[in-house]
Structures are given as structure tokens and as C-alpha cells.
Symmetry: C2
Subunit: 226 residues, 2 copies
């Protein structure tokens, strides 16, 4: 697609004023964060005040698709200014001073006009991406949406054009400070997000086989660094 | 404190219109989500458009304290309308139809005026809470903030007054539907967030002992349901 490889747009709000060294402008790093993330936080305006709702998403190279029912009260007709943030926490940075404590993370903030999808084909495309991001394999395993369900689903889009990507990794920054005294430990405490053991619906017949695409996720880290 | 046990305030924006069955009004459930969460997403207005930034937090019974440097560009003098959302994802709900797929989660959305802390004692109190929420034990282990660092730290507060708490748990909701066909598996896939093996700063002397309060977190689930 036309936008692949294009750097992310540089606008006033995506130009980092703090922590500049952590900023990324490579589009592939935006995709990395979106792949590693599970849900996003959608910020919209409601009666002039911000509202932040967690919701599921999927994406292709140009567009972020969001499940919008949770934000339905905030959706006006037409385009709505929005900010969607995806954050992956990789660990805790335990420094020698409280002040230097930090978090290792990867995040993307995407700004733009939020649009409600009305075209049924586009809605099906977006729901496919969203389902396969959250629950890979389920689009083929479960029953797909019918016309009525499609109509009842609120799907939103945000262009992947104006975005700010930030990452931090590695040890604390105060190794050379006066706080590096003998015996005082410092380092990282990784945070691991893994899929657990599938729990069958109690209503299932006892001999219902667990599909391989679900069984295979057990023990997998959801947000591994590439 | 005076507010303990008081139900959360009911305003138009905290009255759930969708998924009503998931809403909670008990203040103790707000604390449960805040305890289980690790970071929050802070929504503020910048030049009339929403901005959502991930940041650390701590809390006492009446107040949420936020690390504000990441949002510094958004902070005007005086109170700023804000929404802070804390989300804990507990798992994926794999239903029989794509439409019924869902996420098991616990979330809190807290609305209110964001205030910048200026009083040094209040700042120290808030930073203590924030540090002990993210990295319990480090307030006593690491060097505490000095006057200069305190002055350089942007700490924000939001009253724990107007909040909306939502939770979902359990199996999918379509056990009684026509989609419950023999052989089609459905259930939950839990998402586990655990602390990994501490990684010493490469700059540390090799014989630096790992403090027990950090060693003890290894393998611990960060967001266990009570």
C-alpha cells in the first residue's frame, strides 16, 4: 500500500518534547507496538470533557479498527477528534534512587478523526482484523457475523497517519550517579504477559475437543519483543 | 476517612447505558481495580482534542496520584478536566459466534478535575504511594527524593469521587444459542500477568545481593482477583 515505509507524520503533538531519546518515527515500530498490544485506550470528548475507554482493535497497514460499542455514547455523527493509545508494559526499572525509577514499555499514541464504518464490506474486513488480532483462528472456528449482527456492531476507524511511538528498554540510568553505592541493587524486573490454560465453558459436552489454535496459545507470551 | 464506604457518585457519565449488568457502585471494587492495575491511561484535552497518555499512579482512600511528566504539555494552570482509566485484562472470552466474543476484565474510569500538587509534603505523600504501588519496598530501599528532585517531579491528583467501575468474568453468553453445536469448543483463555526473573544492572558489582522484597515478586501474578 501507498503508505508503507512512509515515516509517521510529524505534527506539533507527535513531536516529543520530553524523553526525546525514546521517540520513534519508523512506521514499522508503530506496527510492532500494535502487534504486541492487546487492547487499546480510546480517548474522545463527551460534553467537552475527555473520556477514556478500553476497547479491542485490529489493524491493517493504513487503518486502525476499533470496537466502538463501549464508546457509543460519545459518538457524534461525522468525524470526531480522538486519540488511541496502545501500551505494552515490559517491566519495571528499579533504579538506585526513587527519582530514577521508570517503566520499560512500548507505546503508540494515534491521533485523528474517528469515523464510524457503515459499509458492510468494510465492516466485515475490520471485524475480521479485530477478531484475528484478539483471538487468532476464531474467525474460521466460530460462526461469523450475520447481517443483523453486523448491523448491531459499532466499528470505528482511525487512519494510521499521525502517531507518536515511544519505547524504553534496558537498565536504570543512574549507574554513574552518587547513588551507586556498594550493596544497593538496581536492575529490571520484567513483566510477562502469557496465556493461561483454556477453561472450557461449563455448558460444553465433556468430550468437546480443544481446537489446536487455542491450545497452542497456552504459555505463549502475548507481547514478546521481536 | 470520611469517604470510606460511601458509594461512588452517580452522574450522567458514570451511569452505564450499555452492559449495565457489569457495573459496580461499591467503593471497595474501585479500590480492587486500582490495586490490581499497574499503570493507568490519563485522558486530557490539548488544544481542544483528546490526548491519552500511559502513566504510573498510586492512591489512598480519597485521592488518585499520577505521575504527570508525560502529560506535562497538557497541563494548564488550575484544574483541568480529566478521565483516568485503569484496565486489567483477565482473559479472552471465546464464544461460539464471533459476535459474542468478549474480554474478561476489570476497569475503572475516574472523572474529575486534575490538579497539580505544589505542597512538598503532599508531593512526598503522593510519590510514596505511587512508588509503593509500582515497586513495593523500593521507598525504603532506594534513595528517597531530595528537594531538587521533588521540585522537578510533576505530580497530579484526581479525587476518587466520580467513577465508573466495570467487570466481566466467566464463560461466554451463548451457551443457549443455536450456535452451541456439538464439537464447537467455547470457553475462556485466561491472560496472566506475572513478574519475571530480576535482571541486575550490568554496571552492578557481581556480588550485589538481590533484596528479598524484589526476589519475592518473581513469579507473582500482578493482578490476581481477590
Amino acid at each position: 500500500m501507498a503508505t508503507v515505509g512512509k515515516p509517521l507524520s510529524t505534527t506539533q503533538r507527535t513531536t516529543l518534547r520530553r524523553g526525546r531519546e525514546k521517540g520513534r518515527v519508523d512506521r514499522s515500530e508503530l506496527y510492532e507496538v500494535l502487534r504486541a498490544g492487546f487492547i487499546c485506550h480510546l480517548g474522545v470528548l463527551v460534553d467537552g470533557a475527555p473520556m477514556v475507554v478500553p476497547t479491542g482493535y485490529g489493524f491493517d497497514e493504513e487503518t486502525l479498527y476499533l470496537h466502538g460499542s463501549v464508546a457509543s455514547r460519545s459518538l457524534q455523527a461525522g468525524d470526531t477528534p480522538a486519540c488511541v493509545t496502545v501500551t505494552v508494559v515490559d517491566g519495571l526499572v528499579l533504579a538506585r534512587s526513587v527519582f530514577e525509577h521508570s517503566v520499560n514499555y512500548r507505546s503508540a499514541m494515534i491521533y485523528g478523526p474517528l469515523r464510524r464504518v457503515t459499509d458492510p464490506d468494510e465492516k466485515l474486513h475490520g471485524l475480521h482484523l479485530l477478531t484475528e488480532h484478539l483471538a487468532p483462528g476464531q474467525w474460521d472456528h466460530a460462526r461469523r457475523p450475520n447481517q443483523k449482527e453486523l448491523a448491531a456492531t459499532v466499528l470505528l476507524t482511525l487512519p494510521l497517519t499521525e502517531a507518536s511511538v515511544k519505547m524504553r528498554s534496558g537498565p536504570p540510568d543512574d549507574a554513574d550517579s552518587a547513588d551507586a553505592v556498594p550493596g544497593r541493587w538496581a536492575g529490571e524486573l520484567p513483566l510477562l504477559t502469557t496465556w493461561g490454560t483454556p477453561v472450557p465453558d461449563p455448558a460444553l459436552p465433556a468430550d468437546t475437543p480443544l481446537p489446536p489454535h487455542i491450545a497452542a496459545r497456552r504459555g505463549q507470551v502475548t507481547a514478546a519483543r521481536p
